[in-house]
Amino acid sequence: MNHFDKRNMMGAGVPDRRMILKGMAGAATASLMMGSAFAQSAKGEAPDLAKAAADGKLPKLADRLPASPMVVQVDKVGKYGGSIRRGLRGSADHNGILRLVGNQGLVRWNLEFTEVLPNVAEKWTVNDNSTEFTFFLRKGMKWSDGKPFTADDVVFSIEDCVKNSDLYKSVPALLSIASKPVVVTKIDDTTVKFTFAGSYALFLEMLATPLGQHPTLFCKHYASQFHPKYNANVADLVKAANLSSWPDLFRAKNGDIEIPSRWSNPEKPVLDPWVIKEPYTGGATRVVAERNPYFWQVDQAGNQLPYVDRLSFSISQDVESLMLDVISGKLDIQERHIDTLQNKPTLAQNMQKGGYRLVELVASGSQQCQIYLNLTHKDPKIREMFANKEFRQALSLGMNRKEIIDIVYLGQSEPYQAGPRPGHPWYHEKLGRQFTGHEPKQANAILDKLGYDKKDAQGFRLRPDGQKVFFSIDVIPTLYPDCVDCLELIKRHWAEIGVDIKINTIERALYYTRGDNNDHDAAVWPGPGGLDPMLDPRDYFAQHPQGTRYAVPWTQWYVSNGKDGQEPPESQKRRMKLFDDARATADLKKRAAIMKELFDLSAEGFETIGVCLAVNSFGIVKTNLQNVPQKYPSAWSWPNPGPALPQQFFFS
């Protein structure tokens, strides 16, 4: 997992049983219902499909497409043929496949990652308090095995699978509100209604993220064979496959959103543009997916997508052989595992030999390296030291961000604290830029004022009780090597203002356990929420039990509605209420106003110290691969390049 991508995986919203929909005018939804105004009569299809249709092996193109196929406005109408080659890493890299095949949810993100567009659902209506969502499917849409895709499939996926306690211990957070799961009812063959116990304005955005694929994931006529409700003697099937229980069998056959076995069963009918042919199994060295003849999307000229016949993923254990494949021109599109800054010079210099061009990927994170001082530290003395805002300001001013950006990020970033990225409509100047200057003198002055004026032999400041001003910062070297490099520089900068730190490089599992029981002094993690503040506001107030490391007990209070954890200060409680309101207002303008007030309070609170703006990364695209946008976001909830619709890519 390269670390850019890892960080963004934190973007998706965390299950929050406190979401209560506050009343919302229905009018706002109308603007979202921008369905395909006109259905083009289908004209073009892939040559091999045309031949198969001619020989009668396949129904005619018109019968394969839904009545109103989704029309994708492509830049250039492409040519059919070719195979997109991409590289995967040895250890369980199933998300690498998901990102290229794309997540065919009911709705999808637009290119700018700002609003939701129709996808499987042609159009939808939302009631005024955002508790009922009605989706209108495409008549005549078919699974990749030719059988019709109807509302029954959606109902089956949710009611029979996701809400089945054997299959899922707890219903995925995204599909429940106030700890009550959604109810999905079939209106007719092409209409299905989602009813929530409370208002859930963010539901559409959540559906567009990869974790929102459940409604369109399981195909009823196929998956029901492995479901006891529909197939009594499923037990024999389980024994035949020598597995221990029917959920094991179900998962082996139908997979789940985010496990390797989703791509290990070629017979499983899918709605994706390509269908798995060579499965992704343990020993596999290559995974191949071939064109889905019943894919329900066309370009504006009526040609059935996807243009490219096949996707071919090569698997290599060592990242370096991936780099080699790129340089020797053996991969067509790749950003995963190779997009570290240090690799850019090499990749840039070999563009000509590898026959590829570089595309810019806008980082969705906000802060490249966020430092969380544990304000709810178990040791009262440290807690008192950290809780003092001026102490944090002094530390921030003591940092020479310019040098860090130069050394670690090769000058590709700018000093930054937290908050939405510059250029995002909700960008907050104070939250982002306060105390980012390098003022060691001012920092020393503040620290002297706070009573840390006495120093020990090595020149490190002493606390009033005589203890040295010292704390350790947890970091995971394997995931975020650049953060380790930043800390090594910060250690030198803070030593100059008399503050001593220990860079505590620990193993991943250990990092989480220390955080959960609030044992850490401080911790470092890339700050998300640059492009999607609503989905991941953990740095703006105590929201995420594993993410908001500066006050884990406060987050436990927030998540458990005050049952356990510690009661947070007023400013935090105010912000929690504000966020709940914003989450319940579907209207973007009203939501923006609420969030602005929240950001003001966060800036005032200044709980975390940031280093610099999350650095944009890059990917390579073969020169002859067309219709690939020159710039697009890079995030987990915007599973690049999925939402850029790889089915429209083609080889010129």
């Binding site: 990242v319 370096e320 780099m323 080699l324 340089i327 800054l341 240090q342 690799n343 850019k344 010079p345 090499t346 840039a348 210099q349 070999n350 040098e403 130069d406 050394i407 670690v408 090769l410 000058g411 590709q412 070297p477 394997t478 380790v484 490099d485 090594e488 520089l489 860079i503 505590n504 490089t505 620990i506 193993e507 250990l510």
Partner: protein, 375 residues
């Protein structure tokens, strides 16, 4: 007609030559082995006081010098009027970063000369962990100017100084690991060789069993079990322990072989009949005659350990940054960008090759000279 290889008996000096003198004379005839000896001695000298030989603080980062190429060292300083003096200097270099490809381009500014001096004062370090000093073999006259003899890595740290510092751990891993496996080897090999019978049979099977095991999978599993948050020093000793766990079998077999062949020698029986105690027989009579073989086997085991440390580090399991060893340096260089843009990052590999070749020649020479009597 086997005229004693050591020449006629009248050679007085030869008559009183003890075993070690004879070994030394036999050894001196191997020129390559002698070269190996000098290089090894030099390397271990560096390992003793790395600070003195380094030019920059091994872990000091310098933004300006990321991926700085090696600077050419000039010794002849031709002044403007053509007169030249022996004064080592290097040229300062200017950093320009290609905006598009982000590649760092260093151009040598031939006008500005930075003079160096031998035994100058450079960054402060602890000599033998006893006292702080600033004395270096080579240092720039103004200490602010870093010298990059072998260039710099991605954080602008001096590769030359890091190799010198890494020598301390890599060479000592070899030594300590071998000593560990030696004690085990002598213990088990000696006992099974000396007493023979059932003990020997069981020990022999155990030795064969350990020798037949592939080392990497076992190291992998053991090293993966090492909790990473242990301090570097403890981690270092655990690694040497792991490496020696499989190394002792080789030595045990050599010791056992020697013990068996010695047990049947008549002078050992003579010693026993003289009334010598068991201990005296082993340490006064038997040990001296295979000490030279043991030393030869040790010298041949050390390079294997050094290579093993690099392999472990390559798998990301051995020593971890911030501790510096040749394995760690090679792991950082183990990528395509280093080959393409910064090949000087592979110089630590050269250091490994130099050390291993030197030690092998030394061990080989020792093994040939180990038994000057039975030529």
């Amino acid at each position: 007609m086997s005229e004693a290889v050591l020449g006629p008996i009248e050679n007085k000096q030869l008559a009183v030559a003890s075993q070690w003198q004879l070994v030394w004379w036999a050894f001196k005839r191997h020129h390559l082995a002698m070269a190996g000896l000098y290089i090894t001695a030099f390397l271990y000298l560096i390992a003793l006081a790395p600070g003195f030989f380094a030019t920059n603080d091994p872990s000091a980062q310098n933004g300006r010098a990321a991926y700085h190429p090696p600077q050419s060292l000039h010794f002849i300083d031709t002044a403007a009027d053509g007169s030249w003096t022996i004064k080592p200097y290097i040229h300062a270099s200017v950093l320009k970063r290609d905006p598009q490809t982000l590649a760092a381009i260093f151009t040598e500014d031939t006008s500005k000369k930075i003079y160096l001096q031998f035994l100058g004062s450079g960054y402060e370090y602890e000599l033998f962990g006893l006292f702080k000093t600033r004395l270096h073999l080579l240092a720039a006259e103004n200490t602010t100017q870093p010298i990059f003899i072998f260039g710099a890595d991605r954080l602008g740290r001096c590769v030359y100084s890091r190799i010198i510092q890494g020598a301390q751990i890599s060479l000592s891993v070899g030594l300590v690991g071998v000593l560990l496996s030696l004690t085990l080897g002598i213990l088990i090999g000696g006992v099974s060789g000396y007493y023979g019978g059932r003990i020997d049979f069981v020990a022999q099977r155990a030795i064969e069993f350990v020798l037949a095991l592939p080392t990497i999978p076992i190291w992998l599993a053991l090293a993966a079990a090492l909790p990473h948050d242990w301090p570097a020093v403890l981690n270092y000793f655990m690694i040497t322990l792991i490496l020696s766990l499989t190394g002792w079998a080789q030595l045990a077999r050599v010791v056992r072989g020697r013990f068996l062949s010695l047990r049947t020698e008549e002078f050992v029986m003579a010693a026993r009949l003289d009334g010598a105690s068991e201990g005296r027989i082993i340490f006064r009579h038997m040990l001296p005659s295979f000490a030279s073989h043991i030393i030869a086997s040790i010298t041949l085991a050390i390079p294997a350990m050094i290579l093993a440390e690099t392999s472990l580090s390559f798998l990301g399991l051995g020593l971890q940054p911030p501790s510096i060893s040749w394995g760690v340096l090679l792991r950082e260089a183990q990528n395509i960008r280093s080959i393409a843009t910064a090949p000087w990052l592979f110089i630590p590999g050269g250091a490994v090759v130099l050390a291993v070749v030197a030690l092998n020649f030394l061990g080989d020479g020792l093994r040939d000279a180990a038994d000057p009597y039975n030529k």
